[in-house]
């Protein structure tokens, strides 16, 4: 600190980051302090050195190298941009079509809601769990059969696919664009 003037204040004064009142107060304080004037002169010399530093000439034209490595994907075709929307619509349709089947799965095989497809008879979840508990208790593997129809497998695979797409951040992300944003592009 130089007579009440901190080094920070002198820096902010030179950077033009003080408001008008502060600027006038600091300017007045500087005129009263030879030490502050010396420090200010040092900083001004440094600032001038920055301003005076010339550019180094470019050793070689960078354009050919940059052009050769441009990797930006071409703009996606319109239909491809609609892919995530299509996925969502397809998933919604699946849920609507097989709502009854899904309900019946959760309620041990009984159809609760009308559905265009026959109700599904999936393994009883309660029995399934108790089978495993028994197996672990008795140190033997339970005998569980998966008697699923083809369309039931399709439902399970579709759900798994949707979950996977969500998990991989492929759903709701524009194709060809990274999902993260780099701070250097701010």
């Amino acid at each position: 600190m130089v007579n009440g003037l901190t080094d920070d204040l002198l820096n902010e004064y030179l950077d033009g980051e003080l408001n008008e009142t502060e600027r006038q107060e600091v300017a007045a304080a500087i005129t009263r302090s030879p030490e502050a004037q010396t420090r200010l002169a040092e900083l001004e010399a440094l600032f001038a050195a920055f301003t005076d530093m010339p550019d180094v000439p470019l050793p070689a034209d960078l354009t050919p190298g940059v052009l050769a490595s441009l990797t930006r994907p071409a703009p996606s075709p319109h239909w491809l941009r609609l892919l995530p929307l299509t996925q969502v619509v397809a998933a919604a349709l699946l849920v609507v079509l097989f709502w009854g089947a899904l309900q019946s799965w959760w309620t041990y095989g009984r159809a609760l809601l009308p559905t265009p497809l026959p109700p599904v008879a999936l393994p009883d979840v309660g029995e399934w769990i108790s089978g495993w508990v028994t197996a672990v208790t008795n140190l033997s593997l339970p005998s569980i059969q998966f008697n699923l129809a083809l369309y039931q497998w399709a439902i399970l695979i579709s759900l798994a696919l949707i979950i996977w797409l969500l998990g991989a951040r492929l759903l709701f992300t524009e194709p060809g664009r990274p999902s993260g944003r780099h701070f250097y592009e701010k």
């Binding site: 080094d7 902010e12 005076d52 010339p54 550019d55 034209d61 960078l62 940059v66 592009e185």
Partner: protein, 198 residues
């Protein structure tokens, strides 16, 4: 003044940028030609090594091209590409992808002194300025990556404390503290080497 900063060449820049956004590589090549010296110098001030600076400049242009869709055409290109370059260099320095360099590898004899020709009357003064520029370049290279970056942003890219804080994702108080400390170190280095040479 770098070509990219010349107002005469900036008139058609929005059109070039628009074409580049639409995938016109030749338009982007023209932008590279205009701004490559300024971009190279950002990297050179932070690295001090010509080869590293060339690599960083090239990488910065690539990243700019990939992010071009998000560039606001109403804003000038030069500050944006220089900021990308400085951030990239800072990342490389912090991740130690670039080896530390404490002296610049280009002699000040070969720097661009055209601007000086009109303002510096005597050969002695020219020599003095060259020595000062060389000292300052080397002094910056003595600083930590963070200090180098704040000096670059403030003095060469003319950003405010708030803008630097946003770009570096740090509090304004830290930016100010780093900037003032870096200046103090630079002034001491410059004074020490000036005294040492006399």
């Amino acid at each position: 003044m770098a070509q990219g900063d010349d107002p005469a060449t900036q008139n058609d820049e929005p059109a070039l940028l628009r074409r580049a956004q639409q995938g016109d590589e030749m338009a982007f090549a023209e932008l590279v030609r205009r701004h490559q010296t300024a971009v190279f110098n950002v990297a050179y001030r932070l690295f001090g090594r010509r080869q590293d600076a060339e690599d960083a400049a090239q990488e910065a242009f690539l990243r700019a091209y990939q992010a071009l869709d998000r560039f606001d055409l109403s804003r000038p290109f030069a500050p944006w590409i220089k900021r990308i370059t400085a951030n990239l260099c800072l990342n490389w320095l912090e991740s130690e992808r670039v080896r530390p360099q404490v002296t610049a590898d280009v002699s000040e004899q070969s720097t661009v002194w055209n601007d000086w020709a009109a303002t510096v009357p005597t050969p002695e003064q020219t020599l003095l300025h060259r020595e000062q520029a060389s000292r300052l370049r080397n002094a910056i290279l003595q600083l930590s990556p963070t200090y180098r970056a704040v000096i670059e942003y403030r003095h060469f890219q003319e950003m405010s404390y708030d803008e630097i804080a946003i770009v570096m994702a740090r509090p304004v108080s830290s930016v100010k503290s780093d900037l003032f400390r870096a200046r103090k170190l630079l002034a001491e280095y410059m004074q020490h080497h000036e005294t040492g040479e006399k």
